[in-house]
Symmetry: none
């Protein structure tokens, strides 16, 4: 009975709903547990009345999940746009690593995505269901990586003799490792050097000299 799906075009989202989404995502960014968020906390932060939230959603869970989905989709769209704007695989890889570095030690959306992907709690599964029910299928991130790498293969920038999905997961895993390294505090290696090595490691494995 959700009146708002969060997967409609952003321009159609009523202002109060946007305020709710922003409030939820702010609170989550501050370390709140999605399940323990109180409706009053959310509406207070959003600056609207508690009852108003129920004009747009049927339950607290719906509010939180749609807010997370909204944020996720926005991040994915930005990532997709940024990647597709780059014409070479090397540029795309650099863009990806830049994004990761930019977030510093802050939890970021990509990390959150991974968090959700590696989670099988009820909450995550519900988020995933809604993500599924939207235009995107089970895993938009994997598809994006496939698209990027597939195009790079066609352009001859990336080896054609390896299964696409292996390359997708290998690149993804290395980027993810870099991301965890960025958040890790006690590393013996400097981050710029780490980044360099990650970049070179990927190119060496998949790009013909």
């Amino acid at each position: 009975m959700a009146r708002i799906t969060g997967t409609e075009g952003a321009e159609r989202i009523p202002p109060k709903v946007l305020l709710l989404y922003q409030a939820v995502n702010q609170l989550l960014a501050e370390g709140a547990d999605p399940i323990n968020l109180k409706v009053s906390t959310i509406t207070d932060r959003a600056g609207i009345g508690k009852g108003t939230a129920y004009e747009y959603f049927d339950s607290k869970e719906e509010i939180v999940i749609h807010a997370v989905v909204y944020q996720m989709q926005a991040a994915m769209e930005q990532l997709e746009k940024g990647l597709l704007a780059r014409k070479s695989f090397q540029d795309q890889l650099n863009y990806l690593l830049d994004e990761v570095s930019a977030q510093g030690g802050e939890p970021n959306c990509f990390l959150k995505l991974v968090h959700l992907l590696t989670d099988n709690s009820q909450f995550s599964r519900q988020v995933q269901e809604i993500l599924d029910s939207a235009t995107c299928e089970r895993n938009r991130l994997i598809r994006l990586f496939r698209k990027i790498l597939g195009a790079a293969v066609e352009r001859g920038e990336v080896r054609a003799d390896m299964p696409l999905d292996y390359m997708v997961f290998s690149v993804g895993g290395r980027v993810l490792a870099y991301m965890v390294a960025v958040m890790e505090e006690n590393l013996e290696i400097e981050l710029p050097r780490m980044r360099e090595l990650v970049y070179e490691g990927i190119l060496k494995e998949f790009c013909p000299a």
Copy 2:
């Protein structure tokens, strides 16, 4: 006022506490959200009275967190033992990938560890604090990988001309990616082939021919 830390030797854990730990971990494995677990659900599953849980812990949170920590430490110990029992880096890598494959689509402890490591919710931070306060420092998994790879370098099985931490994260990232692939359902590539490629990719990058 926690009377039980779960970080003492397992042999000292009172039987009722062990029942609690098993109940919590069973329930989490079945997909329950740690924060939404009810005390009565836990004690029912454990087959003990509700009040008994409070003879050993001061709050519900304490019960769940200590149970997770207990499970985590047990898994880490098993992983550590299994890895250290292998004498060559190749055997160790095989063991790691075998373990990952063995869990099939089931959420396993390693994945959970990653989940916690990529999480910054209040619950995770509390778990991490307790893990920290135990003998192990911030990140026992990273230390274990460092130890394994460091020894392999000394044995001449792994290149000595790359920063240890880069190798740690690169190997970790690839294994993690393989793990996600194992859980993923719609891959175009067969899992044994994926495993083979992950294995070869790691050897090719870090082991001198």
Copy 3:
């Protein structure tokens, strides 16, 4: 975080709070122990939802204590008003004894005050703290008696050659004794005769013939 102090002007007390106060005082009048009162008993009697009580107070104790304080202050105000309306000490004394007689065997506010004054349990001390923190100081009743007797001395109705505080306590003690007598069942003396003697005893001790 108490939102309601009961010491503000009565006109500002929200209706639900008033219902709570009345319910508590009814139940106490019926012989309930203030500490054993259940929230549900109170709200049921008040005819409001259990949660509503927590919209105005932070704990059960707060509800009960504020209700008692409210009742106490109301009774004190009535007593003060009644006494100050009488112009002669004899009239005032008669009013006091009338009030005591009027309550019959029922526990009344004055008795409760004495009960609280002779009590040093935690509950009473909390009530006293709140009473203290209100406009009145430690002991409004003593101050009222001082005022009454002081004025009577000035008017020449009461001896000026005795310490005021002795007279305060002597009169208070005799009235209190009469009050206990009113509640006592097996007395050999008739109450009207007792009253007469108390009245005469006080006049004889403090009023010049």
Copy 4:
């Protein structure tokens, strides 16, 4: 089904029961609410096992009430003994006032008696019931005062032309007022002077010059 009545001769009270009584009365003297006392608090203080208390009593209430009754009776016995040992009314009055002064600002048994007498909560009524069921009737204190004053009348020390019960309550009220004064902190009059006046006031009213 109480196995212990507390009203048997003190010499028959089992040692563990005596420990319980002492523990309860200690805790009450420290300001604990009788109704909120925990069994474990009592048995801990008594230095015996929790289960042991239930070898002698059937419920927590029983323990506390019997302990209070025990203390009360002991105090009454002491008071009675002390009063009866004095041969003149003046000596008896002095003894009474000495006892009151001796307790300083500390809550004492006599005050507690008054507290119970002016109380009509469930707890008090139960104590009173048990006191009733013992040898003493409703109000041993009143009877004691009657006895003392009656004898003084017979000895010609006290006026015979006033109802005995009036004198009982008048003397009792004044002594009680003095007791409250002893506990009161902000009096303008010095306590020795107050005591003197109380003493003289009583003599003047009831003893023929």
